[in-house]
Point group: C2
Chain length 346, copies 2
């Protein structure tokens, strides 16, 4: 209610009997200041509840102690988990985060990034909504350091953090193969993204190396209701039906789960299921879902580390960091026979 103007550095300076430059130096630990004076300044600042005006500070220095984050959606726990991880990483280094979502739309992504850049942030962490990341020109025009996460097709002059999708998917497939499964079904929400396609390839490789037939790959979309219809043909033909399913995203996992229920298929008795991304509901579910866990916390920390490195040396080379996933084996997968050994088959 006290609408009075907030106290300024000038107020502190006057009250402490020094110049604003001195106050600035004390509060920013910038230059040597007489300890006694510093003490007095700090005390006065505390007394007056002085809070620096970031706008003024930023205007002068040109950079804001803020990192901008743009993700495709704030309703997806993978992205918000990542944001949480970044926030933990930047905490304590005095940085704040501004976040924005592109709603999976390139035009919005571009608009949101432009808006973020007008803050002149220290850096930008973005999970692009497509592999091409067409809004990249904005970022290298502005000169702000950028780190891309999770999506991005080609090798570029952009720092990048991701997960080894191929290996993760192989791990899931090998797990099922080890349980004697011969026909696998791969379910993706969409095959637009390179990371999803890499996961497909991982499964394909695993099967190929085991001398098993290639998996069926289906796109199930984002709406749970239609998934049973899409999956039915693959799961019903009694003879040659898939006995193991790998769902490549958490929404695909949800889709498969509800489809199995609607189709009257029991997990894991009729089909085994490996999901992607690991959430609390997966352990509470009946049965608990075997899932590939992406190391969100590491991803967030790594993104911040890479960003800091770019901030420190803007001319330096772009780096890319790739993390491994872990398979959390639970009860949604079961053994249906001895694993086939390659040399016997071949």
């Amino acid at each position: 209610m006290v609408s009075r103007r907030a106290t300024t550095m000038r107020d502190v300076a006057i009250r402490a009997g020094v110049s604003t430059a001195t106050v600035s130096n004390v509060l920013g630990n910038r230059k040597a200041v007489d300890p006694e004076l510093a003490r007095r300044v700090r005390q006065v600042a505390a007394e007056l509840d002085y809070q620096i005006d970031r706008a003024a500070s930023q205007l002068r220095t040109g950079r804001a102690a803020v990192v901008a984050i743009v993700v495709p959606s704030l309703d997806n726990p993978f992205f918000t988990g990542f944001i949480a991880a970044v926030e933990r990483a930047v905490q304590g280094e005095g940085y704040d985060i501004i976040v924005s979502s592109s709603n999976g739309d390139e035009a919005q992504e571009r608009a949101r990034i432009a808006a973020m850049l007008s803050w002149r942030p220290s850096g930008l962490i973005v999970v692009p909504c497509t592999d091409a990341f067409p809004a990249r020109d904005l970022t290298d025009f502005s000169g702000a350091p950028v780190v891309a996460v999770d999506r991005i097709a080609g090798a570029d002059a952009i720092s990048h953090v991701s997960v080894n999708n191929r290996a993760a998917a192989r791990m899931a497939a090998d797990h099922l193969i080890g349980f004697g499964h011969r026909h696998l079904l791969v379910c993706a929400s969409s095959l637009q993204l390179a990371n999803i396609r890499e996961r497909c390839e991982g499964v394909q490789q695993a099967l190929a190396e085991a001398g098993l037939p290639a998996p069926s790959i289906v796109e199930v979309g984002q709406t749970l209701e239609v998934v049973p219809t899409i999956l039915a043909p693959h799961l019903s033909s009694a003879e040659d039906r898939a006995t193991g399913i790998i769902a490549l995203t958490s929404t695909a996992t949800l889709g498969v789960l509800s489809a199995a229920r609607d189709l009257g298929l029991a997990v894991p008795d009729d089909v085994s299921l490996v999901g992607f991304d690991d959430y609390a509901w997966m352990t509470a579910s009946t049965p608990p879902i075997t899932a590939v866990r992406q190391p969100l916390d590491m991803l967030g920390r790594a993104a911040w580390d890479l960003l800091k490195r770019r901030m420190a040396s803007p001319g330096g080379a772009a780096e890319r960091l790739v993390f491994s996933c872990r398979l959390e084996v639970r009860r949604s997968t079961r053994s249906i026979g001895p694993p086939l050994v390659k040399c016997i088959i071949g």
Copy 2:
């Protein structure tokens, strides 16, 4: 890579042959400007990819087109869903959001709010981590409009958005009572928060009015593993055991689900379950979970509306908005007999 200084309003002005004041007026639609001149200015601005420097703008005007959001956690889909809703609401009005999490800790909450306020945001939306909201003094000292969400005990001079917790819980209880359940168990992660206690009261009222025994109320905490041990005594005594459970938060729902599984209890055959908060996994789960859905999107929009109202008239009275929840009836609850009619019993 082009580390060259970004283009400034002065650049645009020179190139368009006008003063910076005119550019400012054109771009901010502030004062009448000759249409032809305006067109030229706009074109030059576009050509140069001019982006306003928010720091400078903010320094001059004193206010930033930004709303600060502080929530207890970014790992909880309830809070991130709320943030998503607020973002949708402020989109298009030219506002950005800065977000921060207090990790459920009062000291951190205070620190984060102070940090947010140094941006001199247009307003602050906060989901306090306790009912007392001790960091409130910061906000009314700074003069920034504040809207509290979800938590807050007493009636105060602070605008406030929430859900009718009591009615929501009554709805859940009445649903179970209508299905013939006589002994209900209420599971909360914690009873610290007033909104949770209100939910308890709602259940109690519903049972009292139906002439049924009061519910057992248990705190199950945040760790899934211990829930079975806590719940076992309430669910095992064959004679008088609870047949219906109301879980007051989504984590409590998860806890109950995994406890039921570990205890060998089938849902809904052995126990019926009503959860709180409604997420995608609840419809994919087997069985799909009956749950109380909080209107997150309305909550977000309302918080923004209230904030705007405070921004427009800082002296005005605080308002409070209360929304109703909806019960999504699915398959985790079943009828175990005719509902008891009060007059027959009484």
